[in-house]
């Protein structure tokens, strides 16, 4: 096709938005609502998993070593721990540090420590942070096979609650996002079908005068793309406003923040590029494909 032909078809697509402005506006609104439903659900899901991830990362497993373990063996155990799958961080916590910390936390009971004299009843330990808290049982099982391990302390109850919570959240939010995507697709499909139905005669005329399928589809593709682009742009603006005001409101709730940790809430400035890309590109593509696919029924003349 010549450049002039492509220019004509693009022009037709742009003109059609205005000529069919009522249906274009309906498609625009449906796309906007659909993008917002899916977008906000995904953002809520991201934040929920980030908050749970933040809480999880605060957990640690303490590996106590036998009292007679030599410095070389302690060092070797540290190296071995770092090679265990799912171990994210390994910190040595000497019995001297532990004893000093204990003394400080029990300052009112100095008499107890005085009776011990120079004896330190505590043992050396490693503090470990795991990557995936759901795998903590397997990780501990591996560590138990090491020599010179006296005992291991892990927050099993807390882990179980978090794992359950994460599972429930994943299912609920996943189902919500999926439901929003399906609802949006059904609404978009019906709206574009209605829009195309109102122009079925125009499509048939094009077919009768010898237009190829691609020639007919292209302006619909452009028209849908323009509608979707602007729906994505407005969805981005609305999301930015709503999201930022929600985060600002949360910042004022210090009690809530102490539980979830402000650092675990995703800032809009950190994700605006991904959000903008998804909204604008997604909107344009859904609009373009929606309308060009919907004409298939009327193109077979």
């Amino acid at each position: 096709m010549k450049i002039s032909g492509i220019k004509y078809l693009v022009g037709q697509g742009v003109d059609n938005v205005w000529k069919n402005r009522m249906m274009a506006f309906a498609s625009f609104c449906v796309l906007l609502v659909s993008l917002l439903l899916v977008g906000i659900s995904v953002l809520a899901y991201w934040n929920a998993t980030s908050i749970i991830g933040g809480v999880e990362s605060k957990n640690e497993v303490i590996v106590y070593l036998e009292d007679n373990t030599t410095d070389e063996e302690i060092s070797q155990i540290g190296n071995d721990l770092r090679t265990v799958p799912n171990v994210a961080e390994v910190l040595f916590y000497s019995k001297e540090e532990a004893y000093a910390s204990l003394k400080q936390s029990m300052a009112d009971y100095q008499v107890l420590f005085e009776s011990l004299g120079d004896d330190n009843p505590l043992v050396d330990a490693y503090r470990i942070r795991v990557e995936d808290i759901g795998q903590i049982t397997n990780t501990i099982a591996v560590i138990r096979t090491f020599d010179h391990i006296y005992s291991i302390r892990a927050p099993y109850d807390f882990v179980n609650i978090l794992v359950q919570l994460r599972k429930i959240l994943m299912w609920v939010m996943g189902a919500l996002v999926l439901a929003m995507v399906i609802v949006s697709m059904v609404i978009i499909s019906n709206t574009t079908k209605a829009s195309v139905y109102s122009r079925r005669e125009e499509i048939q005329i094009m077919k009768y005068v010898g237009a190829t399928d691609a020639f007919i589809r292209f302006p619909f593709f452009i028209e849908g793309m323009i509608t979707g682009f602007f729906a994505g742009l407005l969805a981005l603006g609305i999301t930015w406003l709503v999201y930022t005001s929600v985060v600002n409101t949360l910042e004022e709730q210090s009690a809530l923040l102490s539980i979830i940790g402000m650092g675990n809430i995703i800032r809009f400035s950190d994700i605006y590029l991904q959000v903008a890309g998804c909204y604008i590109f997604g909107g344009a593509m859904i609009g373009a494909l929606g309308s060009s696919i919907s004409i298939r029924k009327y193109i077979n003349v």
């Binding site: 096709m1 004509y8 059609n16 094009m206 009768y208 005068v209 010898g210 190829t212 020639f215």
Partner: protein, 227 residues
């Protein structure tokens, strides 16, 4: 050239729309196809445009064997045919100029040619003053003239007019057929489907009568406006 050899069309509902029809319309001919509603006239048009396929027999249109024509070649066939509908089927959002130019844009004709050809065809149907009007601003007769100009602009070998006078005033019907006759005199084959017997009697020529899917009459008659 249009040739149907022993063509039958049976719809999926079991209705026999055409039954062993054979006929030939040579290049440059003008033929009226007459018949009552449900006789098979519309089926014949659909067949010639390859909107449907023959259940049996062979259909040739402008050198294309339609039973062997692939789907992606249908636009090529249709570009050799100009079609005029009873209900005009103009695109309401386009002006008269654009409705006609559209056909040339479909075939990727150069812009320079479009700018020259479209006003010429508009002048042939006498609608220069309505060039920038929209279909809603035209009378029935004017709309049909635009439809004829659209059918003509691509310089097709064959024009199929499906009841072109069905939606316009009787006195204007004669003008429309006169216009089609004029186009035919320039060498274009014209196949006009109608059920207006007065019109056929007036103009005369080749008459093909279809009854219940069969050609029962195919003769040349002298018209009453011979002079």
């Amino acid at each position: 050239m249009v040739e149907l050899k022993d063509v039958s069309v049976t719809y999926s509902s079991g209705v026999d729309a055409l039954n062993h029809v054979s006929l030939k319309i040579n290049d440059g001919d003008f033929a009226f196809v007459v018949g009552s509603s449900g006789a098979g006239k519309s089926t014949m048009i659909k067949l010639l445009l390859k909107e449907i396929d023959a259940t049996e027999g062979k259909v040739m249109v402008n050198g294309y064997n339609l039973s062997k024509l692939k789907r992606n070649k249908i636009p090529e066939l249709r570009r050799t045919i100009g079609i005029v509908f009873q209900d005009f089927r103009l695109i309401p959002t386009m002006t008269v100029y654009d409705n006609i130019a559209f056909v040339l844009r479909v075939i990727d004709a150069p812009t320079k040619y479009i700018r020259k050809r479209v006003p010429y065809v508009i002048s042939l149907v006498g609608l220069q003053a309505k060039t920038n009007s929209y279909p809603t601003e035209l009378s029935g007769g004017e709309k049909q003239r635009v439809a004829i100009a659209r059918a003509l602009v691509n310089d097709p070998k064959l024009i199929i007019a499906d009841e072109p006078t069905g939606n316009i005033d009787p006195e204007l019907s004669y003008e429309i057929v006169d216009l089609l006759k004029g186009i035919n005199e320039c060498g274009t084959t014209v196949l006009m489907v109608t059920h207006e017997h007065d019109l056929v009697r007036h103009f005369g020529g080749r008459i093909i009568n279809i009854v219940d899917g069969e050609v029962v009459y195919d003769e040349i008659l002298g018209g009453t406006d011979e002079d």
